[in-house]
C-alpha cells in the first residue's frame, strides 16, 4: 500500500543565530567606533574648565540691529598656549537681576582695561522668576543705557522693574548682547545670574566662576589672561 508523504515545511536551525548576529553587529560597531576615535575623537563639551565651550547660534545686538551670531565663529582653532590671541569673556545676565544691574559698572571697567585682548559677550537670559520678564527693547536699553521703564518700583524697566534702564551703573556696553534661550542656559549649566566664564582664544574654558568661588573676575582676568601675555 502506497503511503502518502506529507510535504515537509522548512524548519529553523537548531542553534539560535541571533547570538551570531549580535556578535557580528558588536564587531561592526567596535570597528566603527575605533575608526571614530582614530579619525575624530569626540571633544568633551561643557562649561567646566578644560572643556570645549558649548557652541550656540542666536541673535545678537551690537548697537544697531539684531543679527545672527555663532559663538564658534569667534574661536581661533589654530591658537596654542603661549601665543597671543583674543580671549573671550562671557557674561550671563538677566536684565531684571539686581546683581547684574550693579555688575554693569565692573563690566564697563573690565572692558576699558581688557578690550584689546578680550572679546566681551553678554548673554541675556530670563530667569524663571516673577517680574523677570524681558524683551529685546529692554535688553537694548540695558546695553545702550537708553530710556526704558520708570525709576518707580512699578515693575516697569530693568532691575526687577525698579529702575529705568538708562540709569544702569557703568557706561554703554559696546559689545555683543546675545538673546539667550533655555537651551543655551541648559548647555552652559546656568542656574543663576550673573555668571561669568573666560574662554581661551580656541574656545576652551579657562575660568568658570562657579569653580572659583572667592576669586573675583578682575583677579581671574589678571591671572588667566594677564598671565598669558
Amino acid at each position: 500500500m502506497a503511503r502518502r508523504r506529507k510535504a515537509l515545511a522548512p524548519k529553523g536551525k537548531d542553534e539560535d543565530v541571533r547570538i551570531v548576529a549580535g556578535f557580528a553587529l558588536g564587531s561592526i560597531l567596535t570597528a566603527l567606533m575605533i575608526l571614530v576615535v582614530i579619525i575624530a575623537p569626540p571633544a568633551t563639551v561643557g562649561p567646566s574648565e578644560g572643556e570645549l565651550a558649548p557652541d550656540f547660534s542666536a541673535d545678537a545686538y551690537a548697537g544697531s540691529n539684531w543679527e545672527n551670531f555663532k559663538l564658534s565663529d569667534t574661536f581661533d582653532y589654530e591658537w596654542e598656549e603661549g601665543e597671543s590671541g583674543e580671549w573671550i569673556l562671557i557674561q550671563f545676565i538677566d536684565t531684571d537681576c539686581p546683581y547684574c544691574w550693579s555688575e554693569g559698572e565692573s563690566m564697563s571697567n573690565l572692558h576699558a582695561e581688557w578690550s584689546n585682548d578680550v572679546k566681551f559677550i553678554t548673554i541675556a537670559v530670563e530667569l524663571s522668576l516673577s517680574g523677570h520678564d524681558s524683551n529685546r527693547e529692554e535688553v537694548e536699553s540695558f546695553r545702550d543705557q537708553t530710556s526704558y521703564g520708570t525709576d518707580a518700583n512699578d515693575g516697569d524697566g530693568c532691575n526687577s522693574g525698579r529702575d529705568n534702564c538708562m540709569n544702569r551703573p557703568g557706561n554703554t556696553h559696546n559689545w555683543d548682547y546675545i538673546e539667550g534661550s533655555s537651551n543655551i542656559m541648559k548647555d552652559w549649566e546656568v542656574s543663576g545670574t550673573p555668571f561669568l566664564v573666560v574662554l581661551q582664544p580656541d574656545g576652551y574654558v579657562a575660568w568658570n566662576q562657579g569653580e572659583n568661588k572667592g576669586e573675583t573676575i578682575e583677579a581671574a582676568m589678571q591671572r588667566v589672561v594677564g598671565g598669558s601675555q
Binding site: D16, V20, G22, A43, S72
Partner: protein
C-alpha cells in the same frame, strides 16, 4: 559640478546604494536577495551615519573639516556645523543613525541567517515598524536642511545617503513582507 558631489567617499556611498538597489530587484525579488539588499542598505546607512558623526566631531573641535565642503547648496558645513540643529537633545544625529541602523542590521542579519526560525515573523514585523518610525525623522531633517540651518537651503550629501539608505531598507522589507504574504518566503516553496 558641485565640488561636494565629486568626493570619492560620497561616490562610494552612492555605489553602495546602487548595489543595494540592484540586489533588491534581481532574481524576481527572491527572499535571499531581498534580505541581502536590506542588509546592504542598513550597512551603507550605518557607515554613512558614522561618517556624519566624524564630520560632526571635526567641526566641533576644528570649526571646519576637509571631509566635506562648506560652500554651495550641497554641503555639510552649514548643516552638521549648525549647533542649533545638528543634534537632538544634545546627541548628534549621526549617533542616532548608528543606533537605528544597528537595530536594523541585527534584525535583518538574524533573518538572513535563519529565515525559518520561530521568531522570523516577529522580526520581519519589527524590521518593518522600526524602519517606518525613522521616516518622519528623515522628513524632519530634510525640512531642517532646507529651511532652518544657517543660510538655508542646503543639502548635506552624506546625511542624504543615510536617509536614502533608510528609504531603501523600508522598500526591501516591504517586498519581503510581500513574499511572506504570497508564500514566496522560502525559495523552495
Amino acid at each position: 559640478m558641485n565640488e561636494a558631489l565629486s568626493d570619492p567617499i560620497l561616490i562610494s556611498f552612492i555605489g553602495g546604494l546602487l548595489v543595494s538597489t540592484y540586489l533588491m530587484f534581481i532574481k524576481n525579488k527572491n527572499t535571499t536577495n531581498l534580505l541581502m539588499s536590506s542588509l546592504a542598505f542598513a550597512g551603507v546607512g550605518i557607515i554613512s551615519s558614522t561618517y556624519t558623526y566624524i564630520i560632526h566631531n571635526k567641526m566641533v573641535v576644528q570649526g571646519t573639516t576637509s571631509f566635506c565642503s562648506s560652500e554651495g547648496f550641497i554641503q555639510c558645513g552649514s548643516v552638521i556645523g549648525d549647533p542649533q540643529w545638528n543634534n537632538l537633545l544634545g546627541v548628534p544625529w549621526g549617533i542616532f543613525g548608528v543606533i537605528s541602523f544597528s537595530l536594523l542590521i541585527f534584525l535583518s542579519l538574524s533573518l538572513y541567517l535563519d529565515r525559518h526560525a520561530k521568531w522570523a515573523d516577529d522580526y520581519l514585523n519589527y524590521s518593518w515598524w522600526a524602519s517606518l518610525v525613522g521616516l518622519p525623522f528623515v522628513a524632519l531633517l530634510v525640512v531642517i536642511e532646507l529651511t532652518q540651518v544657517e543660510q538655508a537651503p542646503h543639502i548635506c550629501p552624506f546625511c542624504t545617503v543615510a536617509h536614502l539608505s533608510l528609504i531603501g531598507y523600508v522598500a526591501s522589507i516591504y517586498y519581503l513582507k510581500d513574499n511572506k504574504l504570497n508564500s514566496k518566503w522560502s525559495e523552495q516553496e
